[in-house]
């Protein structure tokens, strides 16, 4: 991490808060998210279902309607806070600087237009320069140049038979093909940051491996930083340099992958690692007693305290600050320098 710290982060999220207005009242889904992403880094964001991973991603991308979700805090890119941007201003970032792929690839392709129609539109939006170049090089029409570029982009992600594919609709292709297609469309504008929200969870294992390799290659070739959201600690370990662990709307621990697995600091992370590596959606975490907090009425202080074996008196009262240790960032009173009670736990 020390090397990285000298580098400037490409994306910096500071104290990101998101509140949903629902029938049940105001829900603080994100309770102050902090993390930084460096160029070409692959960061895993892991956590139980409902902890707010997708909301984090959509908040960063400014994809949530203001009426439903109020956000505060900072999402800094090139010194600009994305949260301050209007929908119009945001357009110069979406797809170009920061892009996203979703869990269900088929559902994220428009079902009533052909794949070709959709990718050609993105080519027109993002590749104006290349279109003129191809046109003058080949002396072809704009339409032909767009077609060519669209096909080339699809081939780049390992799709074959692209002419036929471009005439197909979403419901006619497999999940793996759909996810490759989505990756092609998401990175067509050469973004610096790609958020992959459970991009492989809906796919079967072999296809999963292909997609992971593709993402890794992309990141290496184009210097794209990736936020890889997953339930699967195994995948996180394989793919990512850094792992951020999320619990109930906060990132409770961030560390380089090997370091985190070897020496987890946060009690929640420790519980996670003791549990099966695959964070099962159904069974939850067998090694951590209790259930995820009810967001209508979240626990005071540290939201993990009702489940934490090491909880102290102050955990009920005070929200733990983010503490930097040698190689970790951790959000727990045990590592709070001002907290004498906690000194014993440091190791």
């Amino acid at each position: 991490m020390s090397v990285k710290q000298k580098e400037k982060p490409i994306l910096e999220v500071k104290d990101l808060v998101a509140e949903f207005t629902t029938a049940a009242g105001r829900l603080r889904i994100l309770d102050g998210i902090d993390f930084s992403l460096f160029p070409a880094e692959i960061l895993a964001l892991v956590g139980e279902t409902g902890c707010g991973k997708s909301v984090t991603a959509k908040s960063i991308m400014n994809l949530l309607a203001e009426q439903v979700c109020k956000r505060r805090g900072k999402v800094m890119m090139d010194g600009v806070n994305l949260l301050d941007l209007s929908k119009k201003q945001m357009r110069s970032y979406l797809g170009r600087r920061i892009s996203m792929i979703f869990q269900n690839p088929i559902a994220s392709i428009n079902p009533v237009f052909t794949l070709g129609e959709q990718i050609r539109r993105l080519v027109r939006i993002h590749m104006a320069g290349e279109i003129t170049r191809v046109k003058s090089e080949l002396g072809c029409t704009t339409a032909a140049a767009i077609d060519r570029l669209a096909a080339a982009n699809l081939e780049k992600v390992g799709l074959t038979d692209v002419d036929q594919l471009m005439r197909a609709y979403a419901h006619q292709i497999s999940g793996g093909m759909a996810q490759r297609y989505r990756i092609a469309t998401a990175v067509l504008g050469n973004p610096d940051v790609l958020i992959a929200d459970e991009a492989t969870s809906a796919l079967d294992v072999t296809v999963q491996a292909h997609i992971l390799r593709l993402l890794k290659r992309l990141s290496a070739e184009k210097n794209t930083a990736i936020i890889f959201i997953t339930h699967d600690l195994g995948i996180a370990a394989q793919l990512c340099q850094q792992v951020a662990v999320m619990y109930s709307g906060r990132i409770v621990e961030v560390a380089p992958t090997a370091e985190l697995f070897k020496n987890p600091l946060h009690p929640y992370t420790r519980g996670l690692l003791k549990a099966v590596p695959q964070l099962s959606r159904k069974t939850g975490l067998e090694h951590i007693p209790g259930t995820i907090p009810d967001l209508r009425n979240p626990p005071s202080g540290c939201r993990f305290h009702p489940r934490c074996r090491q909880a102290m008196e102050r955990c009920r009262r005070l929200r733990p600050p983010l503490v930097e240790t040698k190689s970790h960032q951790v959000c727990c009173h045990l590592y709070d320098a001002g907290n004498k009670e906690a000194a014993w736990a440091k190791s």
Binding site: A107, N110, F113, Q118, L122, Y169, R182, L188
Partner: protein
């Protein structure tokens, strides 16, 4: 697309066949002796017996049905008990009159309702949205006879902008009739180059058409709004937005096409509703179409006419739903 069309066409034929069976069954199940009614109330028993043989009522049911189908295919719908004219001839005259106002109303309800719903969704939670919502709710909830009378009160009694009733002005009735090319008055007048005639008819049709269009317009406006708002939450819209597609394209192209399918479905329902509503509207506006005819036939228990009208309205409903299925398939390739 082709296999789909063939399947739909086969389905259509099948449904029409079922419809004739139902209507045939209905005509046999109606109270009263058809033969007695055919020859009139004062007929003697021998005359009734003769009529029964003449009408083939002594034969087994399936033979009667086959004969009925045979006549139907030849375009023979029987003789009106009231006027003793062939039902088919009256139908040919009256059906186009009603279809004309119904189709115009359908056209208006799409042409106005769809843009209203789309704009309301685009300008969600603004005064435009509330205005559309109010108009839509009012249009759907006003009973049609009430609306028709209200329109007469305002536009005839108070403002005097539109005629009270009828299909053409009395003056026009003395002219030579238009050549019946399409049997749709407006089109025939246009084809004959008689713009005066056309304008007069349009002027008379205006209030009936507005009355008929009201409910479908409200339905289309509200449904297109809600359908579009729902579609705009879909993953594929968010994904396209995340890849840099602009809001206008997202809304008016990527969103709208997905939102159309339910709107088309409601058109089929609207068609059925409007055909029934011609019963009120044509009565109130004294408009000599199929609805007016149907009511008159109900009151005089003119069974052959009622049976024919039931058959025709059913057939139109089945046919329009088939057309709508084809359109839905055209906007949404997933439909099997």
């Amino acid at each position: 697309m082709l296999p789909f069309l063939i399947r739909r066409l086969a389905g259509l034929v099948f449904l029409l066949l079922i419809l004739t069976m139902l209507v045939f069954g209905l005509s046999r199940a109606l109270p009263g002796d058809v033969a007695a009614m055919y020859v009139g109330l004062k007929a003697k028993p021998e005359q009734i017996q003769k009529a029964r043989l003449e009408l083939g009522l002594d034969k087994p049911v399936h033979v009667q049905y086959l004969r009925y189908m045979g006549r139907l295919l030849k375009g023979d719908l029987g003789i009106s008990l009231r006027t003793h004219r062939p039902v088919a001839r009256d139908l040919k005259e009256k059906l186009p009159l009603s279809l004309e106002i119904v189709l115009l109303a359908l056209l208006i309800s799409i042409a106005l309702g769809l843009p209203m719903g789309v704009v309301a969704a685009f300008k969600r939670d603004t005064w435009i949205d509330s205005a559309v919502n109010m108009i839509g709710s009012a249009a759907v909830s006003l009973p049609i006879f009430f609306l028709a009378l209200l329109l007469q009160l305002v536009f005839f009694n108070w403002l005097g902008w539109f005629p009270l009733q009828g299909r053409i002005s009395t003056m026009m009735e003395f002219r030579d009739p238009l050549p019946a090319v399409t049997r749709f008055g407006l089109i025939d007048a246009l084809l004959a180059g008689d713009l005066e005639y056309m304008a007069d008819m349009a002027w008379h049709m205006f209030l009936p058409v507005v009355s008929l269009a009201s409910i479908p317009l409200g339905l289309v406006a509200r449904l297109s709004r809600s359908s579009l708002l729902e579609v705009m939450q879909a993953d594929y819209i968010m994904a396209a937005r995340a890849s840099g597609v602009g809001e206008t394209v997202l809304f008016f192209r990527y969103g709208l096409r997905n939102a159309l399918s339910p709107v088309l479905s409601i058109m089929g329902l609207s068609m059925a509703l409007m055909l029934l509503n011609t019963f009120y509207v044509e009565q109130i506006f004294n408009y000599p179409g199929i609805g007016y005819w149907a009511l008159a036939s109900i009151f005089s228990l003119d069974y052959p006419v009622l049976v024919a009208i039931t058959l025709v309205l059913g057939a139109i409903y089945v046919l329009s739903n088939t057309i709508i299925d084809v359109l839905r398939r055209w906007v949404d390739p997933r439909i099997k």
